[in-house]
Symmetry: C2
Subunit: 224 residues, 2 copies
């Protein structure tokens, strides 16, 4: 194994699709580790996700030289390296802004907890919600954002407010030092270049599914 400094040998950050697949390989490695396995192969890493072994090798090569021909990957080592590359070798405190149904679902979402993402503060503009306790966390007014973010050195936020409030709340977050926003509001955000946004638009994902299913339902051979 020879990842370079911080495990990032390439001159540019890896594309989103590569990072997404590396997250999947990490899950697979952790599952194999729990089963007591010590070594694995590109084939075994990609197989549950339908990813070919050449693609697995190519994805990992973005970050360094891992594994040995004929021997494969050492599972323990590769888990440590990939966690470091993805930034999930440390805890990430999160704030959640907007406590509607989706916000409440995210508070209980086990996937975050198991990946070292912890919601440490909740904010809502509705005075009736302020002071409520959810999953052990007290809802605060937006005015408390600055103090909380700087006291806890928080970089990441879940934005779950209605579409028409999203940009204003994002601006507030960025103003107090938030660097990454997972945006659940179905609206694009304008942000400065030092801030990253990942948009989670469920209706776009559903349209993607409808598009594929429509093709198979029509009996269209796609050979127009």
């Amino acid at each position: 194994m020879s990842p370079s400094r911080n495990g990032h040998p390439s001159a540019k950050p890896a594309p989103k699709a590569v990072v997404g697949r590396v997250s999947l390989y990490l899950r697979r490695l952790e599952s194999l580790q729990r089963q007591g396995q010590a070594k694995t192969s590109s084939h075994q890493l990609g197989e549950p996700f339908g990813i070919k072994n050449a693609q697995v090798r190519k994805d990992l090569a973005f970050f360094g030289q891992f594994g040995r021909p004929g021997i494969g990957y050492d599972i323990d080592d590769l888990i440590l390296v990939l966690r470091s590359i993805l930034g999930v070798d440390k805890d990430w405190p999160l704030i959640l802004v907007g406590l509607g149904n989706l916000g409440r679902a995210l508070l209980r979402y086990r996937g975050f907890q198991s990946r070292k993402f912890h919601i440490v503060a909740i904010f809502d503009a509705d005075p009736k919600k302020v002071g409520q306790v959810h999953q052990g966390v007290t809802v605060e007014p937006l005015e408390a954002l600055r103090r909380c973010v700087s006291a806890n050195k928080i970089s990441l936020a879940l934005l779950c407010v209605p579409a028409d409030a999203a940009q204003a709340v994002a601006d507030q977050m960025i103003g107090v030092g938030i660097r990454g926003i997972l945006n659940f509001a179905p609206v694009p955000l304008a942000v400065p270049s030092h801030v990253n946004v990942v948009a989670v638009d469920l209706s776009i994902q559903l349209e993607n599914l409808a598009y594929k299913v429509q093709g198979s339902l029509d009996g269209v051979s796609w050979a127009g």
Copy 2:
């Protein structure tokens, strides 16, 4: 405008990324239409999403020849064509299986309703939840799945059950005729080739964000 049969001129279905961007262009077109505008340009379509006009033209070219040089796109026409291509020119009844917090959030998710996706039935394995009414829909036991799917000719399902139940429930869905699954369970599904799955793994999206933010926080120039 000269899209070919069903608006699919190419021999293959468009890649997921293209379909996702076309969903964004459609939202932009609808917003411009509401503002009373009649014509638009590639630049105007891509601009709010940070997509360059060459990319907009390339994406649309997957589906046909639209717009005229120097004149641009007719907004009403392009909306109709893109809705037909994406399959959102008709209603899509959905079933939702698994009424936890996320399931409840999805029931109220405005984004689905505004895109012609309607949750018409809810299923849960928990006898305590069966019979409850949420957003006007009565929760049914999984035994009622077959009758409901065939009576309402349903193709799409939202799968919101815990990870360890996901594959078994997916198998049941597919057995009664479901063709597309939006999978919220943080586990990959094995499905036959005529079934499409789009996975919504929020922790993967959050890892992607953490990866980007980590890069900027470290002060790493990525020039390893």
